[in-house]
């Protein structure tokens, strides 16, 4: 299930508020309970001392009715404070429900709790022994305070506390939702901005300046992705146009040539000539289609298969041997340098294809009698094969784009070398490198251009 940040925040706020208020409530409840108990105890104590003073000083039966009257008088009519006097001598007893008292009173001095079995009232009690005086035997004085109001107060407090806590949690949830909405505002604005992006407005970027720092990383990353997307999109658009252009020329040649051939009676030799010309164009188309399919497969992340361990220098020599007629013809020499003993796991046909494209490129772009250098370099995780040729220095902005399909350094010029290639040679080198987990690199300065590709080593 997808979770909304707002919901999560509100839930977390609510949980936090619930915990906080519950703790505070529990503490308040504890304080109140303790204070009320203390208050009751004070009450009990005052009454007890008061009565004790009277009882201690009077020991004869004549005075006892006065004591009873006094206790009747100071006992509130609502029964919130009660007095009991227990004694072995029934004449010196006092209090309602004495039978029960006999049963339940544990006979100890000090605080206790007492529940009247009949009325069900619960009293907090304080009792003490009062020694014998004159006719009176030792008695036991018990003062009880009804706990009902106390419990009622506590209960009312608890209910109020619970309701307040729930209310507060609800308020925090509402506030939390509002805070989350405001807090996430920049995100919504960002979404709105992102929604407005269209292929037509790919060069637009999300505004970073007014964003909170937390969103900056995300936005910068998103803008970076947009940039790469824009490049790819533009490359694709340009690429489609390039493909159409590459296909249009041979198609136009064939259509035109065939129309001319058919427009009047021709000899068999003339038709043969037309067919031969068409065949040349068709071969060009076939070659473009095949290379495009190859590149498409590499683009889909297809890895090279049929890998074998091979001696890199040997494979380079074999490829150079293939070029020997052309090298002889142009007086070009090729030297192999670097780590001649290097071994690599490769698809040999693909390796030769990539290298032959590089050699072809180097021969085309250097004058007659040039010296080409193929360098093998072993680095961490990769073996690099670089082909260097003397030739016009290529400006830096063009270098990484040399490997793009149909890329031409001089876009206005149709490469006369297109007789043999169709602008896919270096793209194929890149594809072969990526199929081997490698990369490509082009450098050019001081009249030497070096184009390199690598194979990953395990």
């Amino acid at each position: 299930m997808r979770r909304s940040i707002t919901t999560r925040l509100v839930a977390m706020f609510a949980l936090g508020a619930l915990i906080t208020f519950s703790l505070i409530g529990a503490a308040l409840y504890g304080v109140l309970e303790r204070e009320l108990t203390r208050h009751q105890d004070d009450d009990l104590n005052t009454n007890l001392q008061n009565m004790r003073y009277s009882i201690e000083r009077f020991g004869d039966l004549d005075h006892w009715p006065r004591m009873r009257t006094k206790m009747d008088t100071i006992s509130p009519s609502d029964g919130s404070v009660r007095f009991w006097v227990l004694s072995d001598d029934p004449r010196f007893q006092y209090g309602k429900g004495l039978d029960e008292m006999e049963r339940v009173n544990q006979g100890e001095a000090g605080h206790g709790m007492l529940t009247m079995p009949i009325s069900g009232h619960t009293y907090r009690t304080l009792s003490m022994r009062i020694g014998a005086f004159a006719d009176r035997p030792p008695v036991r004085l018990i003062v009880g305070v009804d706990t009902a109001p106390f419990e009622h107060t506590l209960r009312a407090f608890l209910v109020a506390l619970t309701l307040l806590t729930l209310g507060a949690v609800a308020l925090v949830m509402v506030l939390g939702w509002w805070i989350a909405r405001i807090g996430l505002g920049p995100l919504q604005r960002l979404s709105a901005e992102a929604r407005a992006l269209r292929p037509k407005t790919l060069s637009q970027r999300l505004q970073v300046e007014h964003l909170p720092v937390e969103l900056e990383d995300l936005t910068v990353a998103f803008n970076g992705a947009l940039g790469r997307l824009e490049d790819a999109y533009q490359q694709l658009e340009g690429f489609n146009a390039d493909v159409a252009h590459e296909l249009r020329t041979p198609l136009a040649n064939m259509i035109g040539g065939t129309q001319v051939a058919l427009s009047r009676p021709r000899t068999a030799a003339e038709f043969e000539e037309t067919l031969q010309s068409n065949l040349e164009e068709l071969e060009r188309l076939r070659s473009i289609v095949n290379d495009m399919l190859f590149l498409a497969r590499a683009d889909q992340g297809e890895a090279a298969t049929g890998l074998t361990a091979a001696d890199v220098a040997h494979e380079i020599e074999m490829t150079i041997e293939f070029f020997e007629p052309l090298l002889d013809e142009t007086g070009t020499t090729v030297a192999i340098e670097g780590e001649l003993r290097a071994q690599a796991t490769m698809n040999i046909a693909l390796f030769r294809r990539a290298l032959s494209n590089l050699l072809q490129n180097a021969i085309e772009h250097s004058g007659a009698g040039a010296r080409l250098v193929v360098t093998i370099t072993q680095r961490a995780g990769a073996i690099w094969i670089a082909v260097a040729n003397p030739g016009a220095t290529i400006a830096a902005p063009h270098l990484p784009r040399l490997f793009d399909r149909f890329y031409r350094v001089d876009s206005s010029r149709h490469d006369p070398g297109a007789v043999h290639g169709h602008g896919l040679g270096l793209a194929i080198v890149k594809a072969v490198a990526s199929m081997h987990g490698g990369a490509t690199l082009a450098t050019s300065d001081n009249g030497v251009t070096t184009i390199a590709f690598s194979l990953a080593t395990l």
Binding site: Q276, S277, N290, E302, F322, F323, L326, Q360, H420
Partner: protein
């Protein structure tokens, strides 16, 4: 050579049939997998050219059914240039495969190669008109004159001479002589042929090494009356 073509695309089937009959083959054509399987099982062909995508029974199924009964050599034609298809085709017992669009020349070359496979012994001596080639000693003569060739030049000459009368594309030559198995987009083969021609043909008659425009090269002794394209290129 007796061939069966199993191909549902009518234009492809038609030009293959025409071209192969003109090459002196006896050709049967089936336009779907069911007819193809029937013909393949009933008759004995030298080679079967089998399209992978067919109505009725597909090429791979047909191939398995055929292999259960006999070992007729099969060349698969596939439009999908994917590794899986190739592996599947060869795994199921195809002897070779071609990816569409393929060139007719390449198909011819593969057919000849399959036919040669059964042949017992390669010749050690070749003779075309007054060109003599000793494949063991790796020497060549035009008439009585010894021709001085580099190792690769000799290999090129031998490849062409072994297949005399057969048109070889530049790609096929690159593969056979230099083991370069790809469209190389380079004029290396043209240059190599030019240099070979300078040594083998230019100073002698008849001309033997001919350029077939748009297709490739062929080595053969032609009628003197025919136009010698070789000298023109």
């Amino acid at each position: 050579m007796k061939l069966l073509i199993v191909e549902d695309e009518p234009k492809t089937a038609e030009y293959l049939q025409k071209g192969l009959i003109e090459q002196g083959c006896a050709v049967d054509v089936a336009h779907n997998g069911i007819d193809g399987q029937h013909l393949a099982l009933v008759h004995d062909y030298d080679v079967i050219v089998l399209d992978a995508m067919l109505p009725g029974i597909d090429g791979f199924t047909l191939l398995r059914a055929l292999r259960a009964v006999k070992q007729t050599p099969v060349i698969m034609l596939t439009a999908r240039d994917s590794i899986e298809d190739r592996v599947r085709g060869l795994h199921d017992g195809a002897d070779d495969y071609l990816v569409k669009p393929f060139s007719f020349l390449e198909l011819l070359a593969r057919l000849h190669a399959l036919q040669r496979r059964g042949r017992a012994q390669e010749p050690t001596q070749l003779k075309i008109a007054n060109l003599q080639i000793d494949l063991i000693a790796r020497k060549a003569w035009r008439g009585s004159e010894r021709i001085d060739l580099s190792a690769k030049e000799f290999a090129l000459l031998a490849v062409l001479a072994r297949r005399q009368g057969e048109i070889l594309s530049k790609t096929a030559i690159a593969e056979l002589v230099w083991d370069m198995n790809f469209d190389s987009n380079t004029n290396v083969v043209e240059v190599a042929i030019k240099r070979l021609r300078a040594k083998v043909d230019n100073a002698f008659t008849p001309k033997l090494l001919h350029t077939i425009r748009g297709m490739g090269y062929v080595m053969e002794a032609r009628d003197q009356a025919s136009i010698d394209e070789g000298s023109a290129a």
